[in-house]
């Protein structure tokens, strides 16, 4: 963890980093250094049981069983094409929106199978929100309307003042309020990339989900914007369960409490190789393939 200062220096952003008054990236490592143990029997938010995901005949994700702890950040790492995105999209039933996308196995949210025949995918997605790789605000809407889009579009009637409160709350939760409070009526596209991504996070939070899935939310952003999002993720973890896919292992180490390592098997299907507390997985991996990956020997 001490390496991160060097790394930031290498990226040439140390000055900008220090100028951010509310930086809290260290918070996470601090509380780990206090020796706080993560009990293995923490409450579980999502329980994945024997999940397989297919594109037509091709199996992209194979037999994954994994418990995601509530109000914790879980990162998913692994080489490109190993099925990280696919697995993530299975958790809020977005995979079935892909052509020929199909799953089997169970995904329990608070003990209820989201793949049960009686469950409406729309209801699942309100409980389990998603932030995408590329910031994607709705181009025809203002900042304000973007934030309440999800909230408004699944209701028939909304109260104006309630909307305004919700926008403010969501933008504050996404640490964006101060930057955009004077631009609420401008187009969401007029914001910077990092602001757009936080707008997308605010939009997701406004629906009041329990879980937020993030698929490489920083990979289209510059280092400063990335650090802001990472700060934000650490703040959100007090209220939300977060699952984040990332290519960047430093990022996984910085933001997550738990880490999942996936790898493609011989049949090109992604399998779960190792799952554990982030600190343990990065310092003392149990599987040699994990070690090979995190030390950069392949992938």
């Amino acid at each position: 963890m001490n390496k991160r200062d060097d790394q930031v220096n290498n990226e040439g952003t140390a000055t900008e980093e220090r100028s951010l008054p509310h930086r809290r990236v260290h918070l996470h490592s601090e509380h780990q250094q206090q020796g706080e143990q993560k009990p293995a029997d923490m409450p579980i938010s999502i329980s994945i049981q024997g999940l397989n995901a297919y594109y037509g005949k091709f199996r992209a994700v194979k037999n994954i069983t994994l418990d995601i702890k509530a109000k914790q950040v879980t990162s998913v790492i692994g080489p490109s094409g190993c099925g990280k995105s696919t697995m993530l999209r299975c958790l809020n039933r977005m995979h079935e929106e892909t052509q020929n996308g199909r799953t089997d196995g169970k995904v329990l949210l608070d003990d209820e199978d989201i793949y049960d025949k009686r469950v409406d995918p729309v209801a699942v997605r309100r409980k389990i929100g998603m932030v995408f790789q590329k910031p994607n605000p709705f181009p025809t809407m203002s900042v304000f309307d973007n934030v309440v889009a999800g909230f408004k579009l699944n209701r028939f009637w909304v109260n104006k003042s309630e909307l305004a409160d919700r926008v403010e709350l969501a933008l504050k939760q996404a640490s964006l309020w101060d930057e955009v409070k004077d631009k609420l009526n401008q187009s969401g596209m007029a914001l910077s990339g990092g602001q757009q991504q936080r707008l997308c996070i605010a939009r997701t939070l406004a629906v009041e989900p329990e879980v937020v899935l993030m698929d490489e939310p920083c990979s289209a952003l510059d280092p400063v914007a990335t650090l802001k999002i990472e700060d934000l993720i650490r703040q959100l973890t007090s209220k939300y369960t977060i699952v984040i896919v990332t290519h960047n292992m430093q990022q996984a180490a910085r933001v997550s409490d738990w880490t999942t390592f996936l790898l493609m098997g011989d049949d090109r299907a992604g399998e779960l190789i190792e799952y554990g507390e982030t600190k343990q997985l990065f310092t003392n991996p149990k599987d040699e393939r994990t070690e090979a990956y995190i030390t950069g020997r392949f992938g």
Partner: protein
């Protein structure tokens, strides 16, 4: 050194010269083709302008036709008739065309979808007189008289395939990540289409509608079977109604010189409106797209 370089750069063999001549000839031939096209178009447009624009005055636009043989009068009835019939046709064709395009887009692999798309392609090629005949049999005969309404149905038939094809293209171009973003917020599918997909593609959809209107406005044959014509200012869609192309046809084939010049004037107006529509779709809508 210098001579060696020179001999390499200044290739003057026969092949090179022949290639150069062939290039030049091809260029001349293609320019000639383009030139002929532009020339013909300009001739037609300027002739219509020369014959038509000179006849137009306020009276021509606002007066009703005079009885046959009496000089003067205008085409107010036909202008209003065309507008009413095309507006009503748009009201019918828009929801059906865009609804079909949405269906095709939502179920791209469903064979019914592909069959419909094929049908739409075929329909654009059906001669409009056949459309007129069909509407005459299906609407005019049962209703017992020519009517503006039946004209709208005929126009709608002509417009629907154009709207389907342009709308399908427009919807296909909406980035899938916007759709996904909306679905991931727990917005139901139909509401995602209505509130996200359609607004994002609204300009392209509008372009499609304008193209369809421009195409329909000039169709004469189906109107002869359906709206027929009316010398009086009629706004009742259940009665025969005058339209600009039919007026052009009647006047141009009629015996009076005054009718001939009025036909030119009406043709000028029709071409002007269609040209304007093309310009709007080309520049106004396009430039807003880029903002």
């Amino acid at each position: 050194m210098a001579t060696a370089t020179q001999s390499k750069l200044h290739v003057t063999d026969l092949h090179f010269r022949r290639r150069k001549i062939a290039d030049r000839l091809a260029f001349i031939a293609l320019s000639a083709c383009a030139g002929i096209t532009v020339f013909m178009l300009l001739i037609i447009l300027s002739y219509i302008f020369y014959k038509g624009a000179t006849q137009i005055d306020w009276n021509f636009l606002t007066a009703l036709p005079k009885p046959a043989g009496e000089p003067g009068g205008g085409i107010r009835n036909a202008l209003i008739g065309s507008v009413i019939i095309v507006a009503l046709a748009s009201l019918m064709a828009m929801p059906i065309g865009i609804g079909t395009a949405i269906f095709l887009n939502e179920f791209p692999s469903f064979w019914v979808g592909r069959a419909i798309r094929f049908l739409a392609d075929v329909l654009t090629a059906v001669p409009s007189i056949v459309v007129g005949l069909a509407v005459y049999t299906l609407v005019v005969r049962p209703m017992g008289s020519f009517s503006g309404f039946s004209g709208s149905v005929a126009y709608a038939f002509i417009m629907i395939p154009i709207i389907i094809i342009t709308a399908q293209e427009a919807l296909r171009l909406v980035p899938s990540n916007l759709r996904e973003a909306s679905l991931a917020l727990g917005v139901p599918r139909w509401r995602t289409i209505l509130m996200i997909v359609l607004p994002v593609s609204s300009r392209a959809l509008l372009t499609g509608l304008i193209l369809a209107v421009a195409r329909a406005l000039g169709e004469t044959a189906p109107m002869l079977f359906t709206s027929f014509g009316n010398a009086f200012g009629n706004v009742n869609i259940s009665k025969p109604t005058a339209t600009v192309p039919v007026v052009i046809y009647r006047y141009a084939t009629g015996p009076y010189d005054d009718w001939h010049s009025q036909a030119w004037a009406a043709a000028f107006i029709l071409v002007g409106v269609i040209l304007l529509a093309s310009i709007i779709t080309r520049f106004v809508i396009r430039s807003k797209f880029d903002e």
